[in-house]
Symmetry: C2
């Protein structure tokens, strides 16, 4: 799918791709920018010491980037299952259980996206420190895109949780959401601080 | 360009597309999600009162989305001019002036991206309030993507400003950056608050 087609699809009256798929794409963009900064640092004079670490980060970022791309489609499928469950005839006795199962299932992909995005933010923190100073703004954008992806994914978990009736499941997920929020808050501040410092000096 | 090709390009050793183009794409994604929420609200029962306003927002969001897409390429061109100016032979007397002109010019596109992104955030605030409650998470992701685009664009202004010698120009741009930061901070909090409230109730 072409970029402008994806944007057309996002803007269209169809609910997919929507905020869930967009969140996965945001994380993929963050990972891609981490890779770019690694490429623009490895082999450059003055960065010899960081090279072994950056090579490992590049490898991990490429895996995360492709994984996040896969999650765009996975999110669409989970959403379609929720829609399908609501369209089950109202007199079918399993209907309520089917809806509950689909809703719970639809929280799994955004949870994966959010966890992946936090990892991209951790990588962006290292490259903001150790990457080519001429690309420090790109390290910052990597963090920002991944952060938006994490937050967006957490909103998608919460909108599905809203109709989940299993209180134990809800409680467990809300704890996970809270932890991921805390982590992304901390990373956002740390990376912003490093990038701002390097841009001012 | 296909989505995975864009991501490949972002991740590649070439500095374009980089954080600047990504920031424009982030704003375009935000605008696209604003449009989607408008589509998913207009004509739906219970939202009759909001319809005239949402139709106007949809129209504006579509203009912003396409404008932001154009700015992806415009950013690449401005960056390439900076690179070209640095490659001017060192004995050419105009070299320093050419570099300074290219750097100043390269702040214009991200400034446009940031202003556009703030407007997308303003639209996301209205649709978070008035849009279909079932799409409130999408309104949230619209704000998050645009916010990341604004912040990313501001980093791209700052990295170019770093080498600008005209102190009056720098001062003027830093004031603009500060104002856009304040605006996006405020909108981020407001939209997050509205979305969180609606997700919890």
């Amino acid at each position: 799918m072409k970029v402008h087609e994806f944007l057309d699809g996002l803007a269209s009256p169809s609910p997919t791709p929507g905020g869930g798929g967009a969140s996965a794409l945001l994380c993929s963009m963050g990972a891609a920018l981490v890779s770019m900064v690694c490429h623009l640092t490895i082999g450059k004079k003055g960065y010899e010491e960081s090279e072994p670490e950056l090579k490992k980060i590049l490898e991990e970022a490429e895996i995360l980037r492709k994984k996040a791309e896969e999650l765009i489609d996975k999110d669409t499928n989970a959403f379609n299952e929720v829609m399908a469950s609501y369209k089950t005839p109202k007199d079918k006795p399993q209907r309520a259980d089917m809806i509950q199962a689909a809703l719970k299932n639809a929280t799994a992909t955004p949870l994966e996206v959010a966890g992946l995005g936090v990892r991209v933010m951790e990588l962006s923190k290292i490259i903001a420190f150790r990457g080519n100073i001429n690309s420090v703004s790109d390290a910052g954008v990597a963090m920002l895109a991944a952060d938006a992806g994490v937050r967006g994914a957490l909103l998608n978990i919460r909108i599905n949780l809203k109709s989940v009736e299993d209180e134990a499941f809800k409680g467990k997920m809300l704890t996970e959401i809270h932890e991921l929020e805390e982590k992304s808050n901390g990373l956002r501040e740390e990376v912003s601080g490093t990038v701002s410092f390097k841009l001012a000096n």
